[in-house]
Assembly symmetry: D2
Homo-oligomer: 345 residues x 4
Amino acid sequence: MIVVMESGATAEQIEHMAEAVRRLGLRASVIEGTERTVIAAIGEKRADMMESLASGPGVAAVMPIAAPYKLASREVRPDPSCVRVGEFAAGAGAVGVIAGPCSVESEEQIMSAARAVKAAGATALRGGAFKPRTSPYSFQGMKEEGLKLMAAAREETGLAVVTEVMGTDDVELVARYADVLQVGARNMQNYRLLEAVGGAGRPVLLKRGPSATMDEFLLAAEYILNEGNDQLMLCERGIRTFEGHTRFTLPLASISYLHRKTHLPVVIDPSHGTGHTYMVPDLAYAAIAAGADGLMVEVHPSPETALSDGYQSLDFAGFEAMMARCRRVAEAVDQELVGSTVPAS
Amino acid sequence: MIVVMESGATAEQIEHMAEAVRRLGLRASVIEGTERTVIAAIGEKRADMMESLASGPGVAAVMPIAAPYKLASREVRPDPSCVRVGEFAAGAGAVGVIAGPCSVESEEQIMSAARAVKAAGATALRGGAFKPRTSPYSFQGMKEEGLKLMAAAREETGLAVVTEVMGTDDVELVARYADVLQVGARNMQNYRLLEAVGGAGRPVLLKRGPSATMDEFLLAAEYILNEGNDQLMLCERGIRTFEGHTRFTLPLASISYLHRKTHLPVVIDPSHGTGHTYMVPDLAYAAIAAGADGLMVEVHPSPETALSDGYQSLDFAGFEAMMARCRRVAEAVDQELVGSTVPAS
Amino acid sequence: MIVVMESGATAEQIEHMAEAVRRLGLRASVIEGTERTVIAAIGEKRADMMESLASGPGVAAVMPIAAPYKLASREVRPDPSCVRVGEFAAGAGAVGVIAGPCSVESEEQIMSAARAVKAAGATALRGGAFKPRTSPYSFQGMKEEGLKLMAAAREETGLAVVTEVMGTDDVELVARYADVLQVGARNMQNYRLLEAVGGAGRPVLLKRGPSATMDEFLLAAEYILNEGNDQLMLCERGIRTFEGHTRFTLPLASISYLHRKTHLPVVIDPSHGTGHTYMVPDLAYAAIAAGADGLMVEVHPSPETALSDGYQSLDFAGFEAMMARCRRVAEAVDQELVGSTVPAS
Amino acid sequence: MIVVMESGATAEQIEHMAEAVRRLGLRASVIEGTERTVIAAIGEKRADMMESLASGPGVAAVMPIAAPYKLASREVRPDPSCVRVGEFAAGAGAVGVIAGPCSVESEEQIMSAARAVKAAGATALRGGAFKPRTSPYSFQGMKEEGLKLMAAAREETGLAVVTEVMGTDDVELVARYADVLQVGARNMQNYRLLEAVGGAGRPVLLKRGPSATMDEFLLAAEYILNEGNDQLMLCERGIRTFEGHTRFTLPLASISYLHRKTHLPVVIDPSHGTGHTYMVPDLAYAAIAAGADGLMVEVHPSPETALSDGYQSLDFAGFEAMMARCRRVAEAVDQELVGSTVPAS
C-alpha cells in the first residue's frame, strides 16, 4: 500500500505516518518526490486496517497495491478451473449452456422447456423455485414443489439443475434437489448466504451484483472458496448504469478481466444483461466470441404469458436458432460448446 | 399501464395485445395516435405480470403508470410518520442524530464514544457488532460481546442502540439487545431478512442499496411494512456512480423525492455517503437544510487507528463542532434537533 | 405523449391540463383509470414544448411516446445504409476496419502503421492530427503537418483516411486531407461542429459521448443528417460507469438497439471502450459477433513509447493476429470483413 | 507516478521499466515488496507520456500521484478567489445568486423575470439567447435579439448578465452584451471554446459535464486559466447516474472537494441538478449549507408555458420564498448572500 502525503505535509507528519505504518507490522519506505512524499508500506497485507490511515495528519490518499483476494486469484492457482456436473461443463475450454424459464410455473411448462433446451444443445436447466422479487406482491415461486418438478425434468433429460437459493434456511432443501446452487445478484454480498452455500457440498453459480466492482465480486467468491468449495462459477449479468434502453448494461470486458485475474469460469447471462428478447442472441454470440465459459439464458414456451421476465425470454424456436449460431461462433474462437455437437434429433 | 405499439404495428397485433390486456382482468382503452397506437390498461394493477406483455408482437414498450408500492405511499397514509425510541425521534418535524463508531472494538472505545456523542446532542448510538465486510479476511465484529457493550452504554447514557443485523439467524439475538435493527445496504434486497426484521417487533432502519432505484428502495420497505411493522426509517447512504473522489455519491434529492412519495422518515448517512472525514460536516448541514429527518454519523475516539472506516469517522471534537452548527441550520429551516437543545454540559 | 396525473388530481386540474394539451395544437384523450387519470396527447409531436407541462397543477409525470429523431430512424428509411470510401465499407452486411495510431507522431510512425494495418486487412487508417486532450499541457497533435502525412499514407496504401476535427474553424482544412471526418466523444453535443461537418461534403464518423443516452446520440446524428449529409457512421466507444478496471464500459447491446432503431452503420471502438491492450481483441471479436458494421482500433509500432494512448494500443503482430480471428468470427455470423479476404501477403 | 509490476514480473522486466522511467527524464526508485515490486517515478511530472508505460512488459498498473492541474490548484494559489461583477460576487465568503429563465422568449418575459429576481435578492440574471438543444427541431433561442433584451434588463435592474456561448464564432458577439460567459455542460471539453472564452476578457462560468470526473473538470478550467483569465467560476449541475427520478444526480460533496483542491468559487445549479421544480428549493438550501459560493436557478413567469425547461423552473412566488429561507441558511453557516440583505420591498 502507498500512503500519499499532501504536498505541504511537514516532516513530522511524514514521520508520524511512517510510524503508523510500522505499528501495523509493516516496513515503511519513504520516497521523497519533487512535489510530494509517498510512503510505501511493505509486508504482508492488512488492507482493511491500513485504510484508516487515510484520516492521518497530512495524508492525501492511501492506495492499495495488492489484490485483496487470494484463493480466487491466478497467482495462487494459475490454471483455469472447470466446473463439471453430468454433461455440463464450464471452463478450461468448455462452454456450457444453462437454459430454461425464469420461474418454474407448472409441470407442463418446465418439462416442455427442459426437452426443448436439451434438444437445442443446452446441458443444464435453469428455473426459479424460490424467486427474489422486487415487490412482495409479485409471484414468489412454487418453492419445494418447483424443486421437485425440476428434479423430475433432470430425470427425463439428464440436464443438470441450476436454481437459486435465497436464504440460509433454504440451503439444505435446495441442495437436496439441485445440482448447482445459484446465488442471485441481490444476494452477492449476503455473507451469511455465501458461507452457507460454500459449505453445502454443491457447485455454486455466483451472480455479480449490479453495482459490484470486480474486487467486490471476487471477494464475494472468496467467501465461498474460503469454506472449502472450489466448484464455483462467476456469472456476469449486467451492471446498473445510466442507460435506460436496456435493463442493465452488460460489460463483456468482464470476461477478459476475470480470465486474467482468476481461474474461475465466467458465465454470461444475456437475458438479464439486456432485458429484451431481441437482444439476447446478439449478446450470446458476443459473449462466446469474447471467451465466455458459459451462457445462462431464459427460455419459455410462451414468453408473452410468463409469470416473470417474459420480456427477456426466448421461445423455443428462438433458442434453437441461437444455439446453432453459437456453435459456429465458438468454433471460430477455438472453444467448444459441450454437449451440443450432436444435439438430440 | 400503457402498452406502446411499434409505429408499424398491424391491426391484428393491436387487437392481439388488447386481448392480452383483457385476459389479465383489465380494461383495454385503445388510443390511435398520429404516429402510433397505445393501449391503456385500466384496473387494479398486476404490474409484474403485465411486464411480460413487452414480448408480444408489435409491442415497442410497456410503461407502468401507478407506483408499485402501497403501504409506504403517501396516498395510503398522507401524514408523515415518526419513529420514536426513548429520546430519539425522527420524522414529522423531529430530527434525530445517530452517532458512534463503525464497529464496537472494546468497552473503553464504545463507552467513551457513547458519552461523547451524547454530550454533543446525539440521541442514538450506532456501533457494529456483526459487520458485513467486503473481504472474509477483515475484522468481522465482536458479535454478542459487542451487543452487550452497546447495551451497557445505553444503560449509562440513555442513548437508543442502533445496530446492524446481517442474517435471519441473528435477528432474535440482536433484537434482544438493540432498540433499532439496521438492515445494511448490501442486504436491502435480502428479502428473507426483510421479512424477519419486519416481524421482530423492533423499529427498523433500512439502508438504500448503492444501485437501488427509489421504487426498489420503497418496495424493500414494503416487505417490512407488509409484516405489520410500521416503525421504519429509510436511510440514504449514497449510490454508486462513476465518481472516484468520494466513496459513494450522496444524492440529497432523495429527501425531497421520498418526502413526496412516502410518509416514512428519511435519515442521511454522510459518512458512508462521502467516505472522507473532512466532507462529513458539510454534507450533514446540507442534509438538514434539505429537510432530512435524521443523521447517521460515524464517530471514533481515534479514527486513525479504527479497525474499520477510520477514513470517514469524525473524532469527538469534530462531531461536537458539527452538532453545534447542525442546530443552527435546523433552526434556519424550521426543524428541531431532538435532544440537543440542552446538551449535557 | 402521456400526461400522468397525480392520484389525487381534481377534475379541474385534469381539465386544465387537457386544455393545455389542446393549446399546443394536439388532441387530448382523457383516460380515467382505477387509481389515476392519464391524458394522451395525440397529433404531430412537439416534444420539447410538452415537457414544460410537467410543472402543471396535479401532474405526476409526462412520458414521451414517439422517438424524437426522424431522419435517423428506420421508420423513415427502413433499409440499412452503407458508408463507402474507396475499399472501405461499413453497413448493410459489410464490416470495415479502421486502424492506426492514436496520434500521428512522425512520418516513419504513420507510414509503418499504415503499411502494417493494410497488410492485416484494414481498409481505413485512423490517426489524430488535432488531438482533444484532457490537459492543456499534453501533446496536442501535429496539426496540418499530421494531415499531410496521413494523406501521403493514403497515396501509398489506398487506405481511406479517418481523422478527428475539433472545431468549426478546422473543418475546411481537415476536409481537404481526410476522407472521413470524425467527431469525438467530447464533442458529440457540440452542435455548431455537428452542423459544420454536416455541411462539409465528407462522410462523418460520430462517436457517442460517454454519458449520452441513445436518444441523445441519435439526435446528435440528426443534426448532421439535417444538413443533408447521410454518409454517417455511429461509433460506440464506451460509456462512463462506476467500473474502474476498464477505462470505459463498452455496451455491445448498443449494436442491437441501434440496428433496430436506425439505418445508420454502427462501428465499435474496443480500444477506448476498454483502455487495455489485452482486452481489445476479445471485444473486437465480440463486436463482430454481435453484428457490428465496423471496428476502430488503435495500432502503434511501439505502444510503450506512444505519445498518447499507448496503454490501449495493439502492436503490429497483435493486430494481425486479431484480424485473422475477426475474419473467422465474421464468417460465423454471415458478415464479411471487406478488403480482408485477400490480405497483402 | 507509481508503476506497479505484476507479482510474477521478472528482474529483467523490472529493469526494463525502470529504464523506461529514466528515459522520460525521471528518477526511478525501485521498491521490492513482499508480493510485488513497484517503481516510483520521481521528478517533474509528464503524466500523459507516462500513461503509455502501462503497456510495458510485466506492468500491472500505472498510478498517478500528483494532481494534473496547476493554475486551478490551491497549492499554487492557497486563498479562495472571488469573482465580482457589479453587485454580484461569488467566493471568499460571498454567495451570489444568478436567476432567470432558461431561454429569453420575449421582452416582457425577460423584463418581468429580471425585476422579480432582483426584488427577491438575486444579483445576476441568467437567460439563454443561444440554446444548445438536444434536438435540432427544438427552439434554438432568440440569438442576438435575446442578448439585446438581456442587456436592456441589465440597464434597468443593474443585474449582471450571465449567458451561454455555444461556439467560438459567437464569443465576440456574446461578450459584447454579457457580463459573464457561460460554457455549458455539453461543451465542457470543447477545448477550442475554452480557449476562446479564456481570451475574451470576460468572467466565465464553466459547467461540469454530466460525466466529467473532478480532474477532467479542473483540467477544463485549466484551459481557461491558461489563457490568462482567472475570473472563473465552476458550476456543479449534476451528473448522469442510474437514477431516473431526477434529471441528473446532484452531488453536493463536489463543494467540499473543490474547496479543498481549488481556489475557484463553486456555484450550484439545483434546477438542472434535479429537473423538478418542487426539489429546487430543498437543494438550494442544501447547497448553501454545504458552503456553495453561488446558486444558479431557473425562474420563469409561467413555467407551464415555458419554451424550454418549464418542468424545473420556479415561478416568482416560489423564488421569493426560496430566497428568504436561503438567507437564513447562509447566516447559519456564516456565509452572506450578497445583495440580498436589503431586498427591494
